[in-house]
C-alpha cells in the first residue's frame, strides 16, 4: 500500500512540477539579451573581421555564449578585452594579448601601383586615391586593422605605430621601464 501511495505521490509531484516548468519556459520566452547589446557597444564596430566572425554583432553573440575569448578583437587591444571581460563578469588573461598600441597604415609610395584594392578593403574608407594613382591613408580615419595590408599585391602597405610627440606623450607606468 505504501509502495503504491509513494509512487503516486512522487509521480504527482513530478507531473505537477514538470507542467509548471514547461509553463514557465513558455512564459519566459526569448527576450533580447541586453548583454549582447552591451558587448556590441564595447566592440569597435568597424566590422573588420579580424576576429574570425563576419562582424562585430556576431562576435558579440559568440562572446555572450562563451564561444569566443574576450581577447578576440586585435584592433581593440587590451582596453576592449578588459571591457568585454567586465561585461561578461569574467577575468581575462592578458598573456597572449600583446598590447601593441594603436597602429596606422602607411602606403609606401614607391610600391603603390594604384590598383585600388586597398580602397575597397578598407572598412572605414580611410584610403583615398583613384585607380592608377598613388593612394594615401587618412590618419584620422585609419583604425590600423591591417585589412589593406593583406590585400595589397605589392606588400606596399605597412602598419606603423603612431609617433610620440609632446602632444601625445604619456607617463610610463612606474617600475615598468619607460616609454
Amino acid at each position: 500500500m505504501t509502495m503504491i501511495l509513494s509512487v503516486a505521490v512522487v509521480a504527482a509531484l513530478g507531473l505537477g512540477l514538470g507542467w509548471l516548468l514547461g509553463l514557465a519556459s513558455q512564459w519566459l520566452g526569448a527576450t533580447t539579451d541586453p548583454v549582447v547589446e552591451r558587448l556590441t557597444e564595447a566592440l569597435p564596430g568597424s566590422q573588420c573581421g579580424q576576429c574570425g566572425y563576419p562582424g562585430c554583432g556576431q562576435a558579440a553573440i559568440a562572446l555572450s555564449k562563451g564561444e569566443a575569448p574576450v581577447t578576440l578583437c586585435p584592433p581593440g587591444g587590451r582596453v576592449v578585452a578588459e571591457k568585454l571581460a567586465e561585461i561578461l563578469g569574467t577575468t581575462f588573461d592578458p598573456g597572449n594579448l600583446p598590447d601593441r598600441g594603436p597602429l596606422l597604415a602607411r602606403v609606401r609610395t614607391d610600391y603603390c601601383i594604384g590598383c585600388s584594392r586597398c580602397i575597397k578593403s578598407c572598412p572605414t574608407d580611410a584610403i583615398l586615391g583613384a585607380t592608377k594613382q598613388l593612394h594615401v591613408v587618412l590618419e584620422e580615419a585609419c583604425i590600423g586593422c591591417g585589412a589593406c595590408a593583406e590585400v595589397c599585391p605589392t606588400g606596399g602597405i605597412d602598419l606603423e605605430g603612431i609617433p610620440v610627440t609632446l602632444r601625445n606623450w604619456r607617463w610610463h607606468k612606474p617600475g615598468v621601464g619607460h616609454a
Binding site: 572598412p123 583604425i143 609632446l166 607617463w171 612606474p174
Partner: protein, 481 residues
C-alpha cells in the same frame, strides 16, 4: 574677512629663505635664446619669421592660432638663426618646434603703443591687448590669460582672486615680485578687475610672506575694491580650486570652470605682465625665475629673457656645489624634471631648482601599509592608496570610477607616504592612460560612423546596380526582338 578651510593639504618644508632674502637680479643677455612655439596650453603658435630675419625686441615671432593659443615675441633684438626642433622643457626630453635667436646685444625695442588711460579701455580692448602680448598664466599652468578674461564676458564674475599664495617650497619669485613691484602688480590687478567687471578683488597671500603682504597692503590701500587677504600657508593653497574655496567658501563643481561660479583667479606675475602689456603695450618677453635648491651655489631670483637655456641661469648663480639628484623646472611639489640644462626657460617657468639627495628625503619604496595618510591629506577627497592599487594592477577603468579624473596631481599623497610609493607618478600614468582610452573611444565612434557610411554607400551602389540591370536586359530583349 572670513577664511574657509579646504580639505587635506600638507606643510612641506618651505626652504624659501635662501632666495627670498636677495633682491631680484638681472641676467646678462645669453648667447642664444631658444623660444619654443608652444609655451602654453592649447594650439602652438605659427611662426611669422624666416631664418636669417633680423627681429627687434618685442617683435612678434609667431602668431596665435585657434581660440586657445598665444603668440610668441622676441625677447631681445637679434637674428633668427634657426627654426626647428630643440629640447622642450618637458620631462620627456622630446623636441619641440623652436625659434633660435642670436641676440645682437642692442636690446632694441619694437615700437610699442602705450595706453594713455588704460582704465578707459573697454573689456574687449583689454582682452585684446593681453592676448596680443602673449600673456599666459605665470603661476605655472600657462593657460592663455586672454581666454580667462574672455570667459568673464560669458559668465558674470563677482570675485577676482589674485593668487599670491606661492605654496610650493623653494619658489620665491612671486614673493620678491610683490615686494619689489607691488605698485605695478596692483595696477595690473585693477586692470584685470576692470577687464572682468569684477565687483570685488582679493589678493590672497600666504602668511609665510609677511613682507610681501605688507608691501601689497600698502600698495592696495588706496583702492577700496581690493583687499589683501592673509591665508594660512598650507600646500596646495595656490591651486585654483583650493584658493577659491579658501577665499569664498564655495567649491567649483566638478567639470566646471571657476568663472561659472563667478570667480576668476590670476597669478600676481600675470597681473604684472598685464600691467606692462596694457599700460605700456609691452609683450611678455621675460619673467622672474627662482634659481634655488641645495645644489645651487648662489640661489636667488633672476629676471630672465624667455628662451634662456637653464644652463645660463645655473652658471649665473654660481653653478652647482654638489651634483644635484634632480634639476626641476617649477617647484618640487608639482614641477617637472628637466631633461637637460639646454632646455630653455619658458613663460610658465617659475623656478629652476637643483635638489640634493639629502633635501629630497628619498627612500626606497616599500609596501603600502594602508595607513591612510594619503587619504587624510588629499585635498580632493580621493583615496589614493586604492587608486594606486588599481592602477598598479592595470585596472584603469576601476581607478577612473573611483575618481582618478579629479586628481589635481598636487603630490600631497606621495609627499606623506611612509612607504614612498610613487603615487603621483602612478596617477600621471593613469590619467594618460584614461586620456588615451578616451581618444581611442572617440576614434572608435568615428570609425563606427565611417563604417556605417561605407555600408550605406555600398548598399546604395548595389541597389543602383540592381536597378540598372533589369533595365539593360529589357533593352537587350527589345533590340533582339
Amino acid at each position: 574677512m572670513k577664511i574657509f578651510r579646504f580639505r587635506g593639504g600638507i606643510h612641506p618644508e618651505g626652504n624659501k629663505d635662501p632666495t627670498a632674502c636677495h633682491p631680484i637680479a638681472r641676467l646678462p643677455l645669453p648667447k642664444r635664446l631658444y623660444i619654443p612655439l608652444q609655451q602654453h596650453i592649447g594650439e602652438p603658435a605659427a611662426p611669422e619669421v624666416k631664418v636669417g630675419d633680423h627681429v627687434l625686441k618685442g617683435q612678434r615671432l609667431a602668431r596665435h592660432q585657434g581660440s586657445v593659443s598665444a603668440p610668441v615675441h622676441a625677447p631681445t633684438s637679434g637674428t633668427v638663426i634657426a627654426i626647428g626642433d630643440h629640447m622642450a622643457p618637458h620631462p620627456s626630453g622630446l623636441p619641440v618646434q623652436t625659434i633660435t635667436l642670436e641676440p645682437d646685444g642692442e636690446e632694441r625695442w619694437v615700437e610699442t603703443e602705450p595706453a594713455v588711460d588704460p582704465f578707459s579701455l573697454t573689456r574687449a580692448e583689454v582682452a585684446a591687448r593681453v592676448r596680443d602680448a602673449g600673456i599666459v598664466g605665470l603661476g605655472g599652468a600657462a593657460f592663455p590669460a586672454a581666454v580667462k578674461l574672455d570667459a568673464g564676458n560669458r559668465h558674470p564674475i563677482d570675485t577676482l582672486i589674485i593668487n599670491g599664495g606661492e605654496c610650493e617650497p623653494y619658489l620665491t619669485c612671486d614673493d620678491r615680485l610683490m615686494r619689489e613691484g607691488a605698485g605695478y602688480v596692483v595696477e595690473g590687478v585693477r586692470l584685470i578687475a576692470n577687464g572682468l567687471g569684477a565687483k570685488r578683488t582679493v589678493i590672497a597671500i600666504e602668511d609665510n610672506k609677511p613682507e610681501a603682504l605688507e608691501a601689497m597692503r600698502v600698495a592696495a590701500a588706496a583702492h577700496p575694491g581690493i583687499s589683501v587677504l592673509r591665508v594660512p600657508s598650507r600646500y596646495p593653497m595656490g591651486s585654483e580650486k583650493q584658493l577659491v574655496t579658501t577665499v569664498t567658501g564655495r567649491e567649483i563643481p566638478a567639470g566646471k570652470l571657476s568663472a561659472e561660479i563667478g570667480v576668476s583667479v590670476h597669478n600676481v606675475g600675470t597681473a604684472l605682465a598685464v600691467c606692462r602689456a596694457v599700460r605700456f603695450g609691452k609683450p611678455l618677453v621675460s619673467r622672474v625665475v627662482t634659481v634655488g635648491g641645495g645644489a645651487i651655489r648662489n640661489p636667488r631670483n633672476v629676471v630672465v629673457p624667455i628662451g634662456t637655456p637653464a644652463a645660463d641661469l645655473v652658471e649665473f648663480c654660481g653653478g652647482f656645489t654638489v651634483t644635484p639628484t634632480r634639476v626641476l623646472m617649477g617647484g618640487p611639489m608639482m614641477g617637472q624634471v628637466l631633461p637637460g640644462l639646454e632646455a630653455p626657460v619658458v613663460k610658465g617657468t617659475s623656478g629652476i631648482i637643483a635638489l640634493t639627495a639629502a633635501e629630497a628625503h628619498a627612500a626606497s619604496e616599500r609596501a603600502c601599509l594602508h595607513c591612510g595618510r594619503c587619504v587624510d591629506v588629499c585635498p580632493v577627497g580621493l583615496v589614493p592608496l586604492e587608486l594606486a592599487a588599481r592602477v598598479r594592477a592595470g585596472r584603469i577603468d576601476d581607478a577612473a570610477e573611483l575618481g582618478m579624473g579629479d586628481c589635481l596631481s598636487c603630490g600631497c599623497c606621495a609627499y606623506v607616504c611612509p612607504a614612498h610609493l610613487p603615487l603621483a607618478h602612478l596617477f600621471n600614468y593613469a590619467k594618460g592612460e584614461i586620456a588615451a582610452r578616451r581618444e581611442a573611444q572617440r576614434k572608435a565612434e568615428e570609425t563606427r560612423k565611417l563604417a556605417e557610411a561605407r555600408r550605406l554607400r555600398l548598399a546604395a551602389e548595389a541597389a543602383a546596380k540592381a536597378a540598372r540591370r533589369p533595365a539593360r536586359t529589357t533593352e537587350k530583349a527589345e533590340t533582339e526582338s
